[in-house]
C-alpha cells in the first residue's frame, strides 16, 4: 500500500485524504439537500411523467444546493484519483455510508434501527482496517 503515499508534498488543503473526507461530506450534504427538496415538492404536480422524472423538485433551492454539493464532491474525487490508488480511495470514501444515516437522523429526524447501527459499525471498522497502515506511514513521514 506504499503507492498510496507517493504523492508529492502538497499544501494541507490539497491533501488527498482530506479530499476523501470532503467528498464524503459533500455527498452527505447533497443527499440531505435533495431529500429536503424532494419532500418540499412531492405534491406540487399531479402529472405522472413529471413526478417520475423528478423535474418538479428543480423548483426548490434545496435541490440546486444538492446539485452544487454533488459537483463539489466530484471535483474533490477527481483530485483524490490523481494521487491515491483506486482500490484504497474507493473503499475509504465508503465512510459516506456512515455519514449519510447519521445526517438523516440528525437533520431529517429519521430512525436508525439496530441492524443499521451494526452495518455502520462494520463499515467504520472496514475503513479503519484499510486506513490505519496509511496513517502510520504518514506519521513516519
Amino acid at each position: 500500500m506504499s503507492a498510496a503515499t507517493t504523492f508529492p508534498k502538497l499544501p494541507w488543503w490539497l491533501n488527498p485524504y482530506l479530499h476523501i473526507v470532503l467528498a464524503a461530506l459533500q455527498v452527505t450534504a447533497s443527499e440531505v439537500c435533495l431529500k429536503l427538496g424532494a419532500d418540499q415538492t412531492a405534491y406540487v404536480f399531479h402529472n405522472p411523467l413529471l413526478d417520475s422524472l423528478g423535474i418538479a423538485s428543480l423548483g426548490t433551492w434545496w435541490v440546486w444546493g444538492g446539485i452544487l454539493f454533488y459537483l463539489g464532491s466530484f471535483v474533490s474525487w477527481l483530485h483524490v484519483l490523481r494521487y491515491i490508488p483506486l482500490n484504497i480511495a474507493f473503499n475509504l470514501v465508503n465512510i459516506e455510508h456512515v455519514f449519510i444515516p447519521l445526517a438523516s437522523a440528525f437533520f431529517l429526524h429519521e430512525y436508525i434501527s439496530p441492524l443499521r447501527c451494526a452495518g455502520i459499525a462494520l463499515v467504520l471498522l472496514g475503513v479503519w482496517v484499510i486506513a490505519k497502515p496509511l496513517v502510520n506511514v504518514e506519521e513516519k513521514l
Binding site: M1, N91, N94, G119, V123, I130
Partner: protein
C-alpha cells in the same frame, strides 16, 4: 427476480467499476509532463459515459424492485472495484485491504437491508 434482472444488477455494478477505472486512467495522465490530450479525453469521456449508464440502469432497476431488496447488491461494488483495480490498474492488494473490503461490503449490505 429473474435472470435478466440479476444480469442487469451485476452489469450496472460493472459499469460503475469500469467508469471509476477509466476516470482513474484519465487522472493518472495528468501526472505526465506532456499530457496526451486525446488519451485523457478518451478515458474521461468513457468514464463519464460508463457512470451515466450505471446511474440510468440503477434508476431503472429501482423502478421495478424494492429499494431494500436492491441496495444490498451495492455491497458488491467494493469487491468488484478491488478486482478491477488489481487487474486493470495493477494496484497492489494486501490481505489487510481484502479484510477491510469484506467488512465494508457486509456493512453496506446490512445498512441497505435495514
Amino acid at each position: 427476480m429473474n435472470l435478466t434482472a440479476i444480469f442487469l444488477i451485476i452489469f450496472s455494478q460493472v459499469c460503475l467499476v469500469a467508469g471509476q477505472i477509466w476516470l482513474k486512467h484519465a487522472m493518472n495522465q495528468t501526472h505526465h509532463e506532456t499530457v496526451k490530450r486525446s488519451t485523457f479525453i478518451l478515458n474521461f469521456g468513457l468514464g463519464i459515459s460508463a457512470m451515466t449508464l450505471w446511474f440510468l440502469l440503477w434508476l431503472g432497476l429501482m423502478r421495478h424492485f424494492d429499494l431494500s431488496y436492491l441496495y444490498p447488491f451495492e455491497g458488491l461494488s467494493p469487491l468488484l472495484m478491488a478486482a478491477g483495480a488489481s487487474i486493470f490498474l495493477k494496484e497492489k492488494m494486501t490481505w489487510r485491504l481484502w479484510g477491510g473490503i469484506l467488512l465494508i461490503s457486509i456493512g453496506l449490505a446490512l445498512v441497505s437491508a435495514s
